[in-house]
Amino acid sequence: MSSRRTLRKLTNVVALVLSGIATAIGLFFLAAILWTLVKNGVAGLSVALFTQMTPPPGSAGGLLNAIYGSVVMTVIGILIGGPIGMLAGTYLAEYGRTARISALIRFVNDVLLSAPSIIIGLFVYELLVVRMGHFSAIAGAVALAIIAMPVIVRTTEDMLNLVPQGMKDASTAMGAYTWRTVTSVIYPAARSGIVTGLLLAVARISGETAPLLFTALNNQFWSSNLGAPMANLPVVIFQFALSPYPNWQQLAWSGALIITVSILVLSIAARIAVSSFTKGRH
């Protein structure tokens, strides 16, 4: 009897220790990746990184055109995907909360949320690049918008659902139509939650590489023409990291550090925002 008891206790301890180790493994990899980025990336951080163009092999340069391109395409992507996503989320939370089609839309949206981003790249290639006859920044931005949209639909719906029903009822009782209630009562009440969703979407798309490979492609030079190929950080990192030139590899590491730090800061900011928003609503 007591040996069985010992065995049970032993099993318990072993299992719990293993789960602790599992957590340590997860944390170890996060630390290892960040450490590698800092170790290799910091050496290349300089003013030139933010003021000069991507160089040819062997000469000095920076990542200005790539950073600019990434920012432009991310902003356009959010400008397209944001409003559409917010409107769709509004439909799901307010007008069609119980409609049968909403269940289908939620399901499809969840599937799109996890769909491989390279598929979206192929889609936009067929949709825009083939028709236009060449790669372009706008095609890249559309691909990013399609990836951002499901994130925004989901967070908008979740956040609007957190707005107390009493506030909506009060507005309706005063004779307001739903559009008035939504724009004057619900949106302001859920503002920080919606902004969080947008931040998460920015974090999601600003590191995306695969969908840009055959939409925006890349550009060695400065370009602000949305109809032409445009440099962007992820694709530059991809090309430079796999190149045999030390100066390109150094730029790739520095670019990787910049992009990761920005995304992690965005993600943490979004979490802080959402926790202050949801506090006291459950």
Binding site: K9, P116, T178
Partner: protein, 322 residues
């Protein structure tokens, strides 16, 4: 009373028109989500059609991939995609399970949130970062320390030995699986944690009340209750692993062949597309790559849809019992 009376018919009509407009706009945006899925499916099918019509079923049964003779078969990338994802899940699921247990049952309150957020941040790191880290840090480590050991110890064994033979390349199927495992851990553990948290405390307390140890409560109360959700989480992670592109492209070696050894270079569907699409010349070549994309979409769609349906059913049950 006065204000209500003051609303003119014209004003009321304007309000109604805006209501219709706004409702229409939100409905239109929502329907766009459906249209997007339809559009993606349709464009992939149209793009893939020339290759599928030309090669018919042999497209998915042949290993050959030769742009010079214009012969394309998808077997090697399909094999690579399935094997890397399967191995990744084999590595990631136990670790994710451990993390979920730690976060829900073991960690003291003050530790839960920081550790949970740190694991979630692992999911926010872009896949290209995993790619360069895998290529420049992980692959050399595996090549020098892990793979020689695997070759020496497991290589001579019967049955499984042939999976661990040949030279230690560093990059290859196994390395890709390793990187994928790290990438899906945050997704799987986050879902598992969430479903573990739906287990009613009363159930667990009954277990403890009967004298069960923490592990016994987890294994005999929490896991059976949360099983559907756990499988859903695993499938969601699998969907990620199947479609992951950049990280795999860096470390898989991009060889269109099926080697028995897991240490040998291979390719996956997504890595082939990423590597070759921008440079593909000729309609048949491009179309074959789009056909690969269509295959990937089909596989991931089935996996993700199954995962979502399971999680949805769980959500409904949670709502019903509340």
């Amino acid at each position: 009373m006065n204000t209500v009376a003051a609303i003119s018919p014209k004003h009321a009509a304007g309000q109604r028109r805006r209501e219709r407009l706004f409702r229409g706009a939100t409905l239109g945006a929502a329907l766009l989500v459906l249209a997007l899925l339809g559009g993606v499916t349709l464009s992939l099918l149209i793009g893939a059609w020339p290759a599928l019509a030309h090669f018919k079923l042999s497209f998915i049964t042949r290993e050959i991939w030769n742009p010079v003779t214009d012969q394309y078969g998808a077997l090697a990338p399909i094999y690579g995609t399935l094997v890397t994802s399967f191995l990744a899940m084999l590595l990631a699921v136990p670790v994710s399970f451990g993390i979920a247990i730690f976060l829900t049952e073991l960690a003291p309150g003050w530790l839960k949130r920081p550790v949970g957020v740190a694991i979630e941040l692992l999911a926010a790191v872009p896949s290209i970062i995993y790619g360069i880290w895998g290529l420049f840090v992980l692959a050399p480590v595996l090549q020098r320390h892990v793979q020689p050991w695997l070759i020496d110890v497991l290589g001579p064994l019967p049955l499984i030995g042939k999976f661990f033979q040949g030279p230690p390349f560093g990059i290859g199927i196994l390395t890709a699986a390793f990187v994928l495992a790290i990438m899906v851990i945050p997704f799987v553990s986050a879902v598992m944690r969430d479903v573990f948290e739906t287990v009613p405390d009363v159930l667990k307390e009954s277990g403890y009340g009967l004298g069960a140890t923490t592990w016994e409560v987890i294994w005999q109360v929490v896991v059976p209750y949360a099983r559907t959700g756990m499988i859903g989480g695993v499938m969601l992670g699998l969907g990620r692993a199947l479609g992951e592109t950049m990280a795999v492209t860096f470390v898989i070696g991009n060889a269109h062949r099926i080697g028995t050894s897991l240490l040998a270079p291979g390719t996956t569907i997504s890595a082939s597309i990423a590597n070759e699409f921008a440079e593909a010349v000729g309609d048949l070549y491009t179309s074959s790559l789009v056909a690969l994309g269509a295959l990937l979409f089909l596989i991931t769609f089935v996996v993700i849809a199954a995962a979502r349906l399971m999680l949805m059913r769980l959500e409904r049950r949670a709502l019903g019992s509340a």
